[in-house]
């Protein structure tokens, strides 16, 4: 989806993200057709970087819920571990049971672990998922997004109820999750993949 092209020897290098650009009539037609089929509106942006590279990219603003073929939806979040520890100390089980699933709580407290860093990473994963899905003002019970661990130790996401329905509406069929914690902070990055077509 991302490539650098030179239209002519005199032209400035062009970083073209997404194929068609605003100067391409046929590309614009193709994108308008795609937008019409999917019920959305293509938008074009361009700019010139410091090294004179012309940056052109297109995005797709859906007027319906689904994202177009091959979309990757990215979300990230950072959580301060001390804030999770403070919530546990202040609200105890009320906090833990409203935000985390039994499996998440069991893993985070297993083998004498300090649960706060693990729960902070899991909260970051939940928020990152809601960002990736462009949840906006959709109702969100945090337990509808669960971080699960496979037999190989790799973490994944299990969605329920409203979040599962939202992922389906967005056309997201698979997620990739990465979490980390070190000292005061825990972070998570989530990518939702529509998997609809092979990317170029």
């Amino acid at each position: 989806m991302c490539r650098v092209t030179r239209a002519s020897r005199k032209a400035r290098p062009t970083l073209d993200l997404g194929g068609a650009n605003e100067a391409s009539t046929s590309g614009s037609r193709a994108l308008r057709r795609l937008g019409s089929e999917l019920g959305g509106n293509p938008k074009f942006f361009s700019g010139v970087l410091a090294d004179s590279t012309v940056l052109r990219f297109q995005t797709f603003v859906p007027t319906q819920d689904a994202y177009p073929d091959g979309s990757l939806l990215l979300g990230a979040d950072l959580v301060e571990v001390a804030q999770v520890a403070r919530s546990i100390a202040t609200f105890g089980d009320r906090y833990l049971r409203r935000v985390f699933t039994d499996r998440e709580l069991a893993y985070s407290a297993a083998e004498g672990r300090d649960p706060a860093p693990h729960l902070a990473a899991r909260f970051a994963a939940k928020e990152a998922t809601s960002k990736a899905l462009r949840a906006g003002d959709a109702p969100l019970d945090w337990r509808w997004i669960e971080v699960v661990r496979g037999a190989d130790g790799a973490c994944g996401l299990l969605l329920r109820h409203g979040m599962r329905a939202l992922a389906k509406r967005r056309g997201v069929r698979a997620f990739q999750l990465s979490m980390s914690h070190d000292g005061a902070y825990a972070l998570a990055v989530v990518v939702g993949d529509t998997l609809r077509t092979r990317r170029r």
């Binding site: 804030q83 919530s87 202040t90 909260f123 928020e127 959709a138 109820h161």
Partner: protein, 79 residues
């Protein structure tokens, strides 16, 4: 009720400004409230007003302003 909500926001909202000075329609997320802090605010509201927020109210817009929180609490609080 708005003053009690402001006090809860002061204690749990992690705002970058003094919650006491906020207007009823000021955006709490723009004032620095994170999603995690909004959970704490929700739990504190439930404890203070003896209510429970149902799933349909676990929305960003419900916790966006003091006025929207007040409306939600009023809807949930018996009597």
């Amino acid at each position: 009720m708005s003053d009690e909500i402001r006090q809860i926001l002061k204690e749990h909202g992690r705002l970058s400004v003094d919650a006491i000075t906020l207007g009823d329609d000021d955006d709490l997320y723009k004032a620095g409230m994170t999603s995690h802090a909004s959970v704490n605010v929700m739990l504190a509201l439930e404890g203070k007003f003896e209510i429970e927020f149902p799933d349909r109210m676990l929305k960003r817009s419900v916790f966006e302003t003091i006025a929207s929180i007040r409306d939600a609490v009023a809807e949930l609080k018996p009597g």
